[in-house]
Amino acid sequence: MTLDKVSRGDIIEIVSIEDKDIRAQAIRLCIYEGSKLKCSEKLPAGPIILQNRLQEVAISRKLAEHIIIEKVS
């Protein structure tokens, strides 16, 4: 499934990120293929917040549509 389908509180694993530049920027912020993260917040029709320990990253909804994930729990 894609990241925009995630629910708040889900633990997910990143499968692939479509955009090359976003992929490079994401890996610096600990978001990369295989990393496990928590969706700590999801704004109605707005950005999705992914959390890894104390690190939080906001990703726009449109961008999230192009990130493939797998739900872990």
């Binding site: 090359k20 530049d21 976003i22 992929r23 490079a24 920027q25 994401a26 890996i27 610096r28 912020l29 600990c30 990369y32 700590s40 917040e41 704004l43 109605p44 029709a45 707005g46 950005p47 917040i49 890894n52 320990r53 104390l54 690190q55 939080e56 990253v57 906001a58 990703i59 726009s60 909804r61 449109k62 961008l63």
Partner: protein, 607 residues
């Protein structure tokens, strides 16, 4: 004399770190000089330079990696490449993110020393960092510090000379050896390997297409290192974390956002724009400065060309100076102070997240909230800030919406004064119309303009108490930078207007638009003078309306038209400076046309 060593012998010590890791405190401690701090990725780039012993210390903007993704990175990359030693400041709370940059600096072949800062905050959160093990794994000196409390600062200073080349990511050295390292440095070679287009062009060498591979290996190495270095019993319930959470939930975040906006509105709109400006512009400038300058230059006839240029109604020494020092200076300081507090506290990125959905409808992303907020202060200042937006398309949209729909604070005060007596119905109508026009023109621009806007992808820093000293220093550096850039623009605007007035062209333009004013907008003939005045200073225009006898619907038409109408002459010049000629002309004429179109339609309906 202290300068027995020539500048050539001095080594360049470069401070590098992610945004908001406390790098500025290191810079101040080393050099005793000022540095600009910012935690929002994308503010105007500033580089500070100072001296520490035999070193020239250079500060770089906060970055997440060395590359060319934005201005900050491009600037930092060049400073790092030219530096001799790197002091890398990392956040003990965000090691996973920050060590990635550390490892990249090591892969660049730079001599590095690492300060694991905010170590006290990490300890409080239950995070333990084994600095010795980290030093062993990275192959460079590592010191635990808490710069604000002065912990570890002496140790860092003693060890700077020990900064050394560390252990590179697996495979990187082999790739670097493919280059002629007598021709280019390892740092430059790594940038080519990591597909940096700017460097490729500069060196006339191709990029290697290895970014993905190197980044992956680096990330794996960093995660592996941290497993043996980091132990935490993190529970995640500090006050900062809780506030950060609440800000991002619409049900709590939107009321908090509205409260922040109301606070800002009071501070700027009431305190700065009225109390402070009444004093600076009214008492000081109009009361003392103007009579003073007029008496000194009294020998120049006021109606001569030189006279009107210098001390006339729009004179360089009268209106321009009074406007800049009496009005603009306090407003700019007020606005930058608020923005600095929002940035340093970590609120600003969260406001960007909350507004992302709405702004994406007009082809912008959440980051555009920064120029839009600044627009309520001064359109000229806000137009300059559109530089931080991710694409040219977004900069055009934001510039247009700013010029068209956002009333600047100078104008805002006068408009509120004229609108309030008309009653709630008119206040709502005015606000609703502006929001509607903002929405419609934004959506249309988003549809018409080719290309794609960039998407929001930002790091959310911890909510922290802003440091008073940092906020003040940053405010003054930014206000100064703006005034230095804007003063010639305001002066040029004043000269332009004086020439138009002196040659009688101003009157000709007024006459030319008066049929439009009378028949189409259904306003008295003098209103055309008011519109022209609005170009000189938006608040002059609005203030001119108070001397006219207008019915309530006429007043609404006039206020809407003057708000939408071209921004002031200084912001027009700034628009021409920032955008291409064609774009700027389109923005200028577009807001002209929309102002008269909307005002006219409204007049035909309600007057």
């Amino acid at each position: 004399m202290e300068n027995t060593i020539t500048k050539k012998d001095l080594k360049h010590l470069v401070l590098v770190g992610n945004p908001n890791v406390g790098k500025s405190v290191f810079f101040n401690s080393l050099t005793g000089m000022y540095v600009d701090v910012s935690n929002f990725p994308g503010t105007t780039v500033d580089i500070s330079t100072g001296r520490y012993g035999d070193y020239i210390v250079e500060d770089t903007p906060g970055i997440y990696g060395v590359s060319s993704f934005n201005d900050e990175e491009r600037v930092a990359r060049d400073v790092i490449i030219n530096g001799d030693l790197v002091l890398n400041v990392i956040d003990a709370v965000h090691m996973q993110r920050d060590i990635f940059l550390t490892q990249q600096l090591i892969d660049m072949g730079k001599k590095v020393i690492v300060a694991v800062n905010l170590i006290d905050e990490a300890t409080k959160k239950g995070i333990k960092v084994d600095t010795e093990a980290l030093s062993g794994q990275l192959g460079v000196e590592v010191v635990a510090t808490s710069a604000l409390k002065g912990i570890g600062m002496n140790e860092i200073k003693q060890k700077i000379a020990n900064a050394g080349v560390g252990i590179k990511t697996e495979g990187v050295q082999e790739l670097l050896n493919n280059y002629d390292l007598n021709e280019i440095t390892e740092a430059e070679a790594l940038m080519l390997l990591e597909d940096d287009e700017v460097l490729s062009e500069r060196k006339g060498l191709p990029t290697a297409g290895k970014r993905e591979e190197i980044y992956k290996n680096r990330r794996q190495r960093v995660d592996r290192i941290l497993e043996s270095v980091l132990s935490d019993s993190y529970n995640g319930t500090s006050l900062g974390t809780t506030i950060g959470r609440l800000l991002l939930k619409p049900i709590t975040g939107i009321p908090m956002l509205l409260a922040i906006m109301a606070g800002m509105f009071w501070f700027i709109g009431v305190f700065v724009a009225q109390t402070v400006v009444d004093f600076t512009e009214g008492t000081v400038m109009e009361g003392y400065y103007k009579p003073f300058i007029e008496s000194i230059l009294g020998f120049i006839p006021k109606n001569s060309f030189i006279g009107s240029l210098l001390i006339g109604d729009y004179g360089l020494l009268t209106m321009t100076v009074i406007y800049i020092l009496g009005l603009l200076l306090p407003l700019t300081i007020g606005f930058y102070m608020l923005m600095s507090i929002l940035e340093d506290s970590g609120f600003l990125p969260r406001i960007a997240v909350l507004s992302d959905k709405t702004l994406s409808k007009v082809g912008l992303n959440g980051r555009a909230i920064i120029p839009l907020i600044l627009g309520f202060g001064c359109i000229t200042m806000a137009t300059m800030t559109t530089r931080l937006l991710g694409s040219r398309r977004e900069r055009v949209i934001a510039t247009f919406l700013l010029g068209l729909t956002i009333p600047c604070s100078a104008q805002f005060g006068v408009i509120i004064g004229l609108l309030t007596p008309l009653g709630m119905k008119y206040i709502i109508a005015y606000t609703a119309l502006l929001i509607l026009i903002f929405g419609i023109s934004g959506v249309l621009m988003n549809k018409i303009l080719p290309g794609e806007s960039t998407q929001l992808f930002i790091d959310l820093p911890q909510i922290r108490m802003p440091q008073f000293k940092n906020v003040m220093k940053k405010t003054f550096v930014k206000a100064k930078a703006f005034l230095i850039e804007a003063t010639p623009i305001f002066a040029l605007g004043a000269v332009l207007i004086t020439v138009l007035q002196y040659t009688g062209l101003l009157g000709t333009i007024e006459n030319a638009i008066s049929p439009l004013t009378v028949q189409w907008l259904k306003l008295p003939e003098q209103a055309s003078v008011v519109f022209i005045m609005g170009i000189i200073r938006r608040d002059f225009g609005a203030a001119g309306l108070s001397h006219m006898v207008l019915t309530s619907p006429q007043m609404l038409v006039a206020l809407i038209t003057i708000t939408l109408f071209v921004p002031c002459v200084a912001s027009i010049i700034m628009i021409f400076k920032e955008r291409s000629k064609a774009e700027a002309t389109a923005i200028w004429l577009g807001s002209f046309a929309i102002a008269f179109l909307v005002g006219g339609v409204l007049a035909q309906l309600i007057v």
